[in-house]
Every structure is written in structure tokens, then in C-alpha cells.
Amino acid sequence: MRRRAFLNGFAATVTAAAAGPLIVTDRTIAQTRTMFVNTWGGSWTAAEEAAFFKPFTEATGIRVRTVAPVSYAKLKAQVQSGSYEWDVTAITQADLLRADREGLVEPIDWSIVKKDKLFPNAVYANGLAYCALGTNLAYRKDKFPQGGPKTWADFWDVKKFPGNRSMLNNAVRTAQFALVADGVSPDKVFPIDVDRAFKKLDQIKPHIKVWWTQGNQSQQLLRDGEVDMMVMWNARASELQQQGLPVELVWHGATITTTMWGIAKGAPNRKLAWEFLQFAVQPKPQADFANRLYYGPTNPEAFKFVSPEIARQLPTYVENAKVAIKPDTVWEAEHTARIQERFTQWLAA
């Protein structure tokens, strides 16, 4: 008896081990209908959950699982190894372009995505436009009772606006702001005059207390009063306002970059993923996302579902977009590596 029980147990184990790979590949069959999304986590994923994933599952029965944080390196590793952790990723436009050029992005499946249901300029580098993100000058109003900085030139003016400063540790963004501070009109920043930008950056470098790299780190700096003015992502600053902090955002000379949806080349659930992307770029879900996290909808129709109060704080709001820098993605994709090396060297010197 005991021997038999043992044998049965053993057989069950062997069967399970043999069936293991089948169970894993099972998720590729539409039967279980689950797809995996690479995202940034935190409040970003919470907003996605409410605006995209839940309504999509309710409408289609397809379940969505998330993996954080967004990693371009993982996209490349997945496609190269053929072993996938996720199907869809949120990704910056410049990164998507580079990925598409490296053959890491699944071409759009026009049998699922309906062209007539997309807005103009929705498609770029085999991805769909997700939302627009502002990188702004933000400052503590309580530190500047006479009125705070209104332009990048003011940010550079340490005599008129004394105080601790922080900037994003990102070469291309920083170079753009330097050029605007030097008098270049926001719509004339590209192609970037790199030498001129670095010359201007030399002036501000001694006054930058910290070069931040992570979104929550930037919030901590302004919340704790470590710095008085800084470069910040617009929704991160809006979150601080919602928490009751006296924070002001400047739109003049801010950078507006587009975040995209992209699908990893050869991803097992790509058909479900295209269905999802088609759903996610529609006006209502995009508006639901923007109402929760203040990154701008890319679909102009979405503004119908956004309250005017919130709309004014979004990067794609016409008055905001008008005075902002719209980066040349192709130029960025080609020059980022070279500028970043120079920038890192400049920072370390």
C-alpha cells in the first residue's frame, strides 16, 4: 500500500513536471486569455488599473497582469531570448523608435486595429500614442512670496531667485532647458546646439544641489524642502499640489514628450495585446487615465470627458502645449548616446 501510494505520488509529480511546460505555454492560447503589461508601477499603474485594465476585462473577459518597472533592456532581452515576461509596454517615443529600428517591436496588426477608430498621428514607430508627459520647472510658492521663476532664464538667475535647485539627470532634457534659458525660442530648440547648451549649463552647475534620477526622489526633494525649485514631471508636481503643498508649475519651455504603447516582437499574446491597445487609445479610457494622473491624453476627443479644471493642468492642453518644447524624436534617438556620454563626463568633472 505504502509503496503504491509512493508510486502514485511519484507518477503525479512526474506528470506535473512533464505538463509544466504545457501549462506555461497554455497562457499563449487565447483560451485563458490573459495578457501581460510592462508599466511604471505606483500611482501610474493604479491609474491604468482603473482607466484601462478593469474596463477592458469587463468588456472582453481578457485579464491583464502588470510587471514593473518599465525596462527597455528587458524588451531587448525578451526578444533576443524568445522568452517573454510581458507582451505590451509603455515606452517613451524616442526609445520606441530605437526599439523599432532594432527590430524589437511587433508591427501593427491591421486585421485587429481599425484605422478609422484611431485619431490622427496615433501611430508612430509601430506603436500607438498613449499619453503626453510634461517635464517642467516646478517651485515652492512659499519660498518666493514676491513671485517665483517664470522661465528657464529665471531658473538660471541665481541672484534674483536665490534658493536650492535640482535638475533631472538626463542629458537631452537638460540641454533643451539650457538653450531656452539662453534665449532660444522653445519651438527652435531642435536640432540642439550641443556646445551652446553645455556653455550655458556651466553657469548653473554649481547651483544644482542634486541631480535626481527617480520620480519619487524628485517629490521627496520638494516636499522635504531640500530644494526650492527644480525640474519635475508635471503629474508628479500635481500630486504634490493635491497633497496640499504650495507647488507651482511653469509651462513655458517645458518639454512635452509622448509616451507610447508598444508590443514586444513575437510576444505570445500579441493578438490580445492589439485588442487592448485599440481599446486603450479610445477617448473615454484616455480621459479616465488623465483624470487620475495628470498626463495628457493624446486623443483630442478625450478632452470631452475631462473637466476644464483638470484639462488646464495637462500637457496636451492647447495653451500649455503652445509654449512648450516639442522634441524631435528622430534627432533624439540618433544623438542621445553621444550627448549622454558628454553630459555624464561633465557631471563627473
Binding site: A73, K209, G225, A337, Q340, E341, T344, A348, A349
Partner: protein, 293 residues
């Protein structure tokens, strides 16, 4: 080996165990899985990194040439080694007295110290890094004490090389203390009593007896701290300045932001070779098998 029936008891212990080791298939069964795991999950990926460093994007040694010719990369490597040396020295200076007290006393003081060190050891290093952000911040206790004492505006502590060195020292200190403690605990108190009975004053007994006997712990702890410090990543980013960039930050930037896998692999290989060289030197003088006491 052929004389399987010869009276084993007649052989010296070492020979006997060696003979048993090579004969028993159980040994190979035991060795098999870990060797397989190490090969598949460790040797193979490292081999791939090596290959990537000379083939991505094309077959050449250009990445290595770049590392040693562009000033930024030599600067980062030099900084990584100098920082690791400083942190190791600080851990040794701070950790030695603590480990000494822990090993020499056998009452509640020792237990209390061990508990504190262990708790620090078990607290996540991210938590400890963020704690320093609060302590050294402009609204933190250090600045507060500075102002309360009427010393004027406090100097900037956060986002300096000082803060990042302090943070890394704090995080690695428990490793040093535990490595020292493991060796010191084995030093017989009777040996110090013997020294005293032969007329050595406490200071002389420490210098002539305890210190030399504790040296293996010093070497072990230093090696452990130094090698761990070489790979430090988050703490210098959050507490330090871009000037304190460490090698692993460079590797991360190359992989995640610039997608330069070939170059990142070359940097990783250099780091690996440097770490390997240190272990080789250590093995020459101390023996790797003594690393864990």
C-alpha cells in the same frame, strides 16, 4: 586505491577520507546538481557577457579601448576603487572595537551589541539609505542640532561624497563586525592571561597576542566589504553627487538608457577581472577556504 580490502583503520585519517571520497558515487551525486546549477546559472551567463563585450555590435576590442582612453570611464573606475578602499578602512576602524567588546565580554553587553548589529544587518539597505536622507536632510536632526547650538547655518551634508561614503559604511559595517567577531571569538582568553602572567601589560598583550591572532578576521572582513562595495549602486545615487559615480551606475546607464550592451559588458568584465585579481591575491596570502572563519 585498488586495495579495497586493506584495513582502513591502519591508514592515516586524511588518506582514508580521500580514498573514500574518490570511490564513492554519492560524492559525485552530491557534487552534480550544484555544479550544474553553477555552470548553467553562473558560468554560462558570465561567458555570454564576455562574448557580448567583444562582439556587440561587431567583433572588436573597441569597447575596452574606450574604457581606458575616455577620461570619464577611467575616472569612474578609479573612484570606485578609492571609495571602496575608504569605506573598507572606515568599517575596519569603526568595527574593530565593537567586535572586540562583543568577543571579549560574555555578558549582556555582548548580547546587546550582537542584537544591534544583527538588526542593522537585517534591515533593508534601501530603508537605511532613506533614513540617512532624513537624518542628514535640511530638516533633519543634524541640521537641527547645529542650529540649536547656535553654530549658524549648517553645512550641506546631503548629496555630498561625505553622505554617500557614510551611507555605504553604515550598510557594510555589520559584515565587517561579524567577520571580525567570528575570528575573535575563537581566540582563547587563556592566551591573554598567559601573556599577562609572563609580565605583559594589557596593551602589550593586545599588540603581541590578540591583534596578530585577529588578523585573519581583519583580512576576511576587509575583503568582504571591499568587494561588496565595488558593486554598490543605489546608495551613492541617492546620497551622493554625480562625481561619486560608481561602476555599477555606469553599467546600468549603459544598459537601460543607452542600450550599449557591448560596452556595458566590457565594463562588467573589467569589474569581474578586478574582483578576481583581488581574490587571487587574497588566496595567495590567506587562503580562500578561511574566508568564513
Amino acid at each position: 586505491m585498488a586495495g579495497g580490502l586493506s584495513p582502513a583503520a591502519a591508514l592515516p585519517t586524511e588518506v582514508r577520507t580521500r580514498a573514500a571520497r574518490s570511490r564513492s558515487p554519492a560524492v559525485w551525486l552530491l557534487l552534480g546538481p550544484p555544479s550544474l546549477v553553477l555552470t548553467l546559472l553562473f558560468m554560462l551567463p558570465i561567458g555570454l557577457v564576455l562574448v557580448t563585450s567583444i562582439t556587440d555590435p561587431r567583433m572588436s576590442l573597441a569597447h575596452y579601448q574606450r574604457i581606458f582612453t575616455v577620461p570619464l570611464y577611467t575616472h569612474v573606475m578609479l573612484n570606485t576603487f578609492v571609495t571602496s578602499l575608504v569605506v573598507t578602512a572606515l568599517c575596519l576602524v569603526l568595527g574593530y572595537p565593537v567586535a572586540y567588546v562583543m568577543a571579549r565580554r560574555s555578558d549582556w553587553v555582548s548580547t546587546l551589541l550582537l542584537t544591534i548589529v544583527a538588526m542593522s544587518f537585517w534591515t533593508g539597505f534601501l530603508v537605511r539609505t532613506y533614513a540617512w536622507l532624513v537624518i542628514l536632510g535640511s530638516k533633519g536632526p543634524v541640521t537641527g542640532a547645529y542650529q540649536a547650538l547656535g553654530l549658524g547655518p549648517a553645512p550641506q551634508l546631503l548629496f555630498t561624497s561625505f553622505a554617500s561614503t557614510l551611507g555605504m559604511t553604515h550598510i557594510l559595517l555589520p559584515y565587517m563586525i561579524l567577520a571580525l567577531f567570528a575570528v575573535m571569538k575563537k581566540i582563547e582568553p587563556d592566551q591573554l592571561k598567559a601573556a599577562a602572567s609572563l609580565g605583559a601589560r594589557p596593551r602589550a598583550a593586545f599588540a603581541a597576542v590578540f591583534l596578530p591572532l585577529s588578523l585573519p578576521g581583519v583580512v576576511n572582513g576587509s575583503l568582504l566589504v571591499f568587494v561588496s562595495c565595488l558593486g554598490f549602486f543605489v546608495t551613492p545615487i541617492l546620497l551622493g553627487t554625480p562625481r561619486d559615480m560608481m561602476i555599477s551606475q555606469l553599467i546600468n546607464q549603459q544598459i537601460e538608457e543607452l542600450l550599449a550592451w557591448g560596452f556595458a559588458s566590457a565594463v562588467a568584465v573589467i569589474l569581474l577581472i578586478a574582483t578576481g585579481l583581488i581574490l587571487v591575491v587574497y588566496n595567495r596570502f590567506a587562503g580562500l577556504d578561511r574566508l568564513w572563519g
